[in-house]
């Protein structure tokens, strides 16, 4: 059933090379009639193929490719839904971006969020996966309990609960107060408010945890047995076997969570009541984009912001991909070298 995580993390099995070659072989017609028949067959084959991917293709063209191209054009205009005059303003939006102090505060808030939430989330995911990778009684219930937050974490309901948890009279302050620790207004202080949003993201470590668990189960036990015979202690086995074998999954989770980190919206919106307050410390990128595009209706400006984001995400993804050859271990490569 499906490829193993290791296989698909290495990209093997995606459109097998053999099939591509077969397909690329030129058909050699014996006569004009045979050639016409071959053309008809090819045409029919293409028609069937496009009928099957038709719904996706329609969605891709209408709701992805065209909008994105349109937003590339919009980024160079002063498009505003409320005003009728539309004009080409060249790089003005981008120049305004560079000078917009709120924009840079949004960038800073987003970078803090991404660089704190993503590594913490992956650390928790890996730690708990290690802890729950055994056959003890009740371990399934534990996995379910740890996974539960990640299915509801992105909802408005949980964000509302989170806001009240960290409110002045919320349970967090009440607990700290009963321990004799001076309480603070978590959401009113720009030093602590972003961390409540980060904590909410880290709390949702269930999905990467399950991915790591699946990966841990793929590691052949002989590796550990051989290492144990060689006298490697637990820590050494973890560093020399577990981590290298998991690097493809760490890589995958890193890419996915990074994109998530740059685009998170609901929690910041609810926790700051849509404002990004205090002092724009919770003004995540997508929240500022929402304010510009759908509150001020400066859609051209918001499109420019969206494109800047796309470029940054693409650059980060490319960077992680480029760096991967230095730290991601693929067994298939090791076998090739042997």
């Amino acid at each position: 059933m499906g490829r193993t995580p290791r296989q698909w993390a290495t990209g093997s099995g995606v459109g097998t090379a053999k099939a591509e070659i077969e397909y690329a072989l030129p058909v050699q017609p014996r006569s004009a009639q045979a050639a016409a028949a071959a053309r008809r067959r090819a045409w029919r084959r293409n028609l069937t193929g496009y009928l099957f991917i038709g719904p996706w293709l329609f969605g891709f063209l209408a709701f992805t490719l065209v909008p994105i191209s349109a937003s590339a054009v919009l980024a160079f205009t002063n498009f505003n839904v409320l005003s009728p005059n539309l004009s080409w303003i060249g790089l003005n939006n981008f120049a305004t971006l560079l000078a917009d102090q709120r924009y840079w505060r949004a960038v800073r808030a987003t970078l803090l969020f991404a660089f704190a939430a993503v590594p913490l989330k992956l650390l928790f995911a890996l730690g708990l996966a290690m802890l729950l990778n055994n056959a003890r009684r009740g371990v399934y219930a534990y996995r379910a309990a740890y996974y539960a937050p990640s299915i509801v974490g992105a909802s408005v309901a949980v964000a509302v609960v989170w806001r009240e948890m960290f409110g002045k009279q919320g349970p967090i302050n009440a607990m700290l107060g009963s321990l004799g620790i001076t309480t603070t207004a978590w959401l009113g202080d720009p030093a602590t408010a972003p961390w409540t949003v980060i904590l909410l993201a880290v709390w949702e470590f269930g999905s990467p945890m399950l991915i790591f668990l699946a990966g841990l189960r793929q590691i052949p036990t002989e590796f550990y047995e051989a290492a144990a015979i060689d006298g490697a202690d637990r820590l050494r086995r973890f560093g020399a076997i577990t981590i290298p074998m998991l690097t493809p999954l760490i890589f995958f989770n890193l890419v996915l969570q990074m994109i998530f980190g740059f685009t998170v919206f609901t929690s910041a919106f609810i926790i700051s009541s849509g404002s990004g307050a205090p002092l724009d410390s919770v003004l995540l990128y997508s929240l500022y984009l929402y304010q510009k595009g759908f509150k001020d209706f400066q859609m051209g400006y918001a499109a420019a912001m969206a494109w800047a984001l796309l470029l940054v995400v693409a650059a980060c993804t490319a960077l992680i991909f480029r760096s991967s050859s230095h730290w991601v271990y693929y067994e298939a490569d090791a076998e090739d070298r042997r």
Binding site: F52, W56, L131, G138, A145, A154, V158, S207, V255, I270
Partner: protein
């Protein structure tokens, strides 16, 4: 399933180490689910108790008043309307996404046609696309078409399926021996017949996984309903909760927690009944909750 060492060295009876393990795991698990338990507990506390008896998970005077008052909603619109809207969006949206994703997954996994490789790469690229890039031009198009304040902008894009699910279903289809397809073809099945009679029954676990995740994503979706729906009668549960819990006008916190709890009930019901598919889906595809 686990490291052989931990199985091989298992001794009968409960060892102190095992006890320590369970205590730690349960304690941390309790911290993890505390916010959810607190929400549920607060939803049964009378208004004067919610923040007075704030850390307690057991209401002193349990009451259902919060649910009654909360259900009445705001502006004369009850939460029944919001639930109906959410169910419509999540139900129809999920159906569209799963059908479309299954068709394209079969096309990409099994059929040979010119341009397949190119479109496949395009499909994979959309996995990494931040939604913000799409949302502004999409909004302009739907506003020009006069479709704001309808469900069309929420549902129409679902016709295209979702790259995550296409990828997930493709993984399953690849695991099905091609001999089955060939046998069906010899028996006179066309491509659609093969898809419908052979492939669909075999990939039903993957379709379930895709359906569950799609349901979660649409049920919890906040951004799209927020920008497209301005009429409170069309609000989905997520937008309604946001309006209802606006800190500027809130008096009855118990009722908010009651409605927040109800909003999560369908999610947990699906989780309880179908968690096998969820966990399988995540493990085989790396389909992460987003």
């Amino acid at each position: 399933m686990s490291l052989s060492s931990s199985v091989a060295h298992r001794r009968p009876g409960l060892q102190p180490r095992d006890v320590a393990y369970h205590v730690c795991v349960i304690a941390f698990g309790f911290v993890m689910v505390y916010p959810l338990l607190w929400m549920v507990a607060s939803s049964f506390k009378p208004a004067d108790e919610v923040f007075a008896n704030v850390t307690s998970l057991i209401p002193r005077r349990p009451t259902l008043d919060n649910y009654v008052q909360g259900w009445a909603g705001f502006g004369g619109i009850s939460f029944a309307t919001f639930f109906r809207n959410s169910l419509l969006y999540a139900g129809v949206g999920t159906l569209l996404v799963v059908c479309s994703s299954a068709l394209s997954a079969y096309g990409f996994a099994r059929l040979r046609f010119s341009g397949r490789r190119f479109w496949f790469v395009m499909m994979l690229l959309t996995l990494m696309l931040p939604i913000q890039v799409q949302v502004i031009p999409e909004y302009i198009v739907f506003s020009k078409l006069g479709l704001l304040n309808t469900f069309w902008p929420l549902l129409l894009p679902r016709i295209g399926g979702q790259a995550f699910f296409i990828f997930l279903i493709m993984q399953f289809i690849r695991g099905i021996p091609r001999e089955l397809d060939d046998a069906a073809a010899i028996d006179g099945c066309g491509q659609f017949g093969i898809f419908w009679r052979i492939i669909v029954p075999l990939i039903s676990p993957a379709l379930m996984t895709a359906a569950i995740f799609s349901f979660y994503f649409t049920w919890g979706d906040f951004l799209h309903p927020l920008i497209y729906l301005n009429d409170p009668r069309l609000y989905t549960i997520s937008v309604a909760l946001r309006t209802y819990s606006d800190p500027a006008g809130v008096s009855n916190w118990g009722a908010i927690f009651a409605m927040a709890t109800l909003a999560l009930v369908p999610v947990f019901v699906v989780f309880l009944f179908f968690q096998r598919y969820l966990i399988q889906g995540i493990s085989t595809s790396g389909l992460a909750g987003r």
